[in-house]
């Protein structure tokens, strides 16, 4: 209960942060050349000024900036993100359509990179300065320095073009008419390369942190105590050291949530996945500013949600945090 209370207080503290983001971005987007009506008119191939004025007052764009901002925030409380002139649909509808793809990509990459990074980090720390450590640490450094989109492209060359094992891009085989399990399998197959790309990049980060934390924890007194009372080596590593060494890596999950989302923007573009990131890219190109603001809002909510989960997990791992130190 205390855990939830604590995490809830942190959640409440993120409301002003969210407000700063929204107000800041709203004002920033006022600086953009052209508004929604201009974009709409450009798409329709021009229109007369009188009609443009009418459209502006229809979208409420003729009001002063402060009034527009107030209206926008009021609508946000009701989770109304406005209307996208480009897609001809409410922004919330378009985002809701695209969100599952990004969530699937993000969550699977996060879980895989966290699990893989933890395992490899522990392994490297157990064999510190010997060949398994050198190999793992070197590979980690190289993946850390690799641009995600390039790794994805090279994955396509090897596994889709040369070997023909995996589909090169897309969300599913279009026109194949798969249903049920077969469709799920097809989608999973399409997700292998994007997920692997994103996972490898973030795995390197968790690996480094985990290795350092393990090395630090293994020198502490309670490890010696555990050994002295006769706990086996596996027990010492898993039951005693790992639980403590996990804390920095869990903190990193919260800090990296935004970066992970940013990474999926790029990876979705490489693999032509119809996700939130792809949508963000398209709205930049098409100057759909309402959509862009909506995406940023949803992304910030996502990052805040991840951080809430991290807080709860944190208190679970280290009970001292929940009892208020």
């Amino acid at each position: 209960m205390r855990i939830l209370l604590l995490a809830g207080r942190r959640l409440l503290a993120s409301v002003p942060t969210l407000l700063i983001i929204l107000v800041g971005l709203f004002l920033l987007l006022q600086l953009a050349p052209g508004d929604t009506v201009d974009a709409l008119m450009a798409q329709m191939g021009g229109g007369d000024p009188a009609q443009m004025e009418k459209l502006r007052s229809f979208y409420g764009l003729d009001a002063p900036v402060a009034v527009q901002l107030g209206r926008y925030l009021l609508r946000l409380i009701r989770f109304d993100l406005g209307f996208s002139a480009i897609y001809g649909q409410p922004v919330a509808t378009v985002i809701a359509e695209r969100l599952p793809v990004t969530l699937l990509l993000m969550v699977s990459a996060l879980c895989l990179s966290f699990a893989g990074g933890t395992a490899l980090g522990v392994l490297a720390a157990r064999r510190v300065n010997r060949w398994p450590d050198t190999l793992i640490s070197t590979l980690g450094l190289i993946f850390y320095a690799t641009p995600s989109f390039w790794l994805g492209l090279m994955g396509v060359v090897v596994f889709a073009v040369k070997l023909g094992w995996l589909p090169a891009n897309g969300f599913e085989q279009i026109g194949a008419g798969y249903t049920g399990v077969q469709r799920a399998g097809d989608i999973a197959l399409h997700f292998v390369l994007p997920t692997a790309t994103l996972t490898l990049i973030f795995l390197a980060i968790y690996l480094r942190v985990m290795r350092a934390a393990m090395l630090e924890v293994m020198t502490l007194d309670f490890i010696r105590t555990a050994r002295a009372k006769g706990v086996g080596e596996t027990g010492v590593v898993i039951r005693h050291a790992l639980r403590n060494a996990l804390l920095p890596a869990v903190t990193l999950v919260g800090l990296q949530a935004g970066t992970l989302l940013g990474g999926s923007v790029v990876v979705e573009s490489v693999f032509a996945l119809p996700g939130l990131g792809r949508l963000a890219y398209e709205s930049v190109v098409q100057r759909d500013l309402n959509m862009l603001l909506g995406i940023v809002f949803v992304s910030a909510l996502l990052v805040i949600t991840v951080n809430f989960c991290v807080d709860v997990l944190y208190a679970k791992l280290d009970p001292r945090i929940a009892t208020g130190r």
């Binding site: 969210l18 390039w150 970066t259 990474g263």
Partner: protein, 277 residues
């Protein structure tokens, strides 16, 4: 001297330094070896590396010399990386220093803003900035610097929090020094080493951010950028994969060099960690 010695004793740091020298040499030799515009038409498009001795790395789909673009791209990457790092460190140090030194409501306000920047995915904010202000090289560099300062601010703030109650600072106050003088002339030099080391991480991520932006065709199209080159090769990936592969290796080497040198500096400056990695 002992710093140099400690740096030299770590093989990864030395490898990083050597790679860094290679990239620097590429950037310096670019206009000597390829004095012409690297984006001009140089020959028949899509010649494989080695097929024509004139083009050691081959040509891209528009018939541009890949080797020339790689060398000129080194210059662009290093320039964007270092300017963005300077911008990011400048903003981060300023915000972190004031938050840590003054505390109270100044700290509250500045940290809320920092938190807002950290909650917003940096790459999305970068997309928004490019959408609003356009994508010429100066804007892109500035934008990359403006999205990557929060970590520096937190680091600087932490340093200032531990330093501001030290005796030498109290002595400065007793002497009647102004806040500005205490912050920049007295505390900052003491807080600087960990921040300088962190610059390696900022520079590595700046180079990666620019290349991702360029790959999406949202960076300056009129410069030889490695990201642009990878994007240009995407269309011919199935048959001429080398067009994308070569610039990717260049990015990898540069980012690896920057982070290895940064890590080496960190280990050399932190004797506490000696013998651990």
């Amino acid at each position: 001297m002992s710093l140099l010695k400690r740096f030299g004793r770590s093989p990864p740091a030395v490898i990083g330094l050597l790679l860094m020298l290679v990239v620097l040499a590429a950037a310096l030799l670019a206009s000597t070896l390829y004095p012409d515009d690297p984006l001009r038409l140089a020959g028949r498009p899509l010649q494989w590396p080695g097929a024509n001795p004139r083009f050691p790395f081959g040509t891209d789909p528009s018939g541009r010399d890949i080797a020339a673009q790689i060398l000129h791209g080194a210059r662009v990457s290093l320039l964007i990386g270092s300017v963005a790092t300077v911008v990011s460190l400048g903003v981060g140090i300023l915000i972190g220093a004031f938050a840590g030194y003054f505390g109270g409501w100044v700290d509250d306000v500045l940290m809320r803003i920092t938190e807002a920047f950290q909650t917003l995915p940096a790459f999305l904010l970068l997309l928004v900035l490019v959408a609003v202000f356009g994508s010429d090289i100066a804007t892109v560099t500035l934008a990359i610097g403006l999205v990557s300062w929060p970590a520096t601010a937190r680091l600087t703030r932490a340093e200032f929090l531990t330093l501001r109650e030290r005796e030498f600072v109290q002595a400065c106050r007793t002497l009647g020094m102004g806040h500005g003088q205490i912050v920049f002339r007295e505390i900052l030099p003491n807080a600087l080493p960990p921040i300088i080391v962190y610059a390696g991480v900022v520079m590595a991520s700046s180079i990666l951010l620019e290349s991702a932006l360029a790959f999406l065709n949202l960076s300056d199209p009129n410069i030889a950028s490695w990201g642009n080159m990878i994007g240009a090769g995407k269309g011919v990936l199935r048959s001429q994969w080398y067009v994308s592969a070569i610039p990717g290796v260049a990015i990898l080497i540069t980012v690896l060099a920057v982070s290895l040198v940064g890590q080496g500096l960190n280990d050399a400056l932190n004797p506490r960690l000696r013998g651990r990695s």
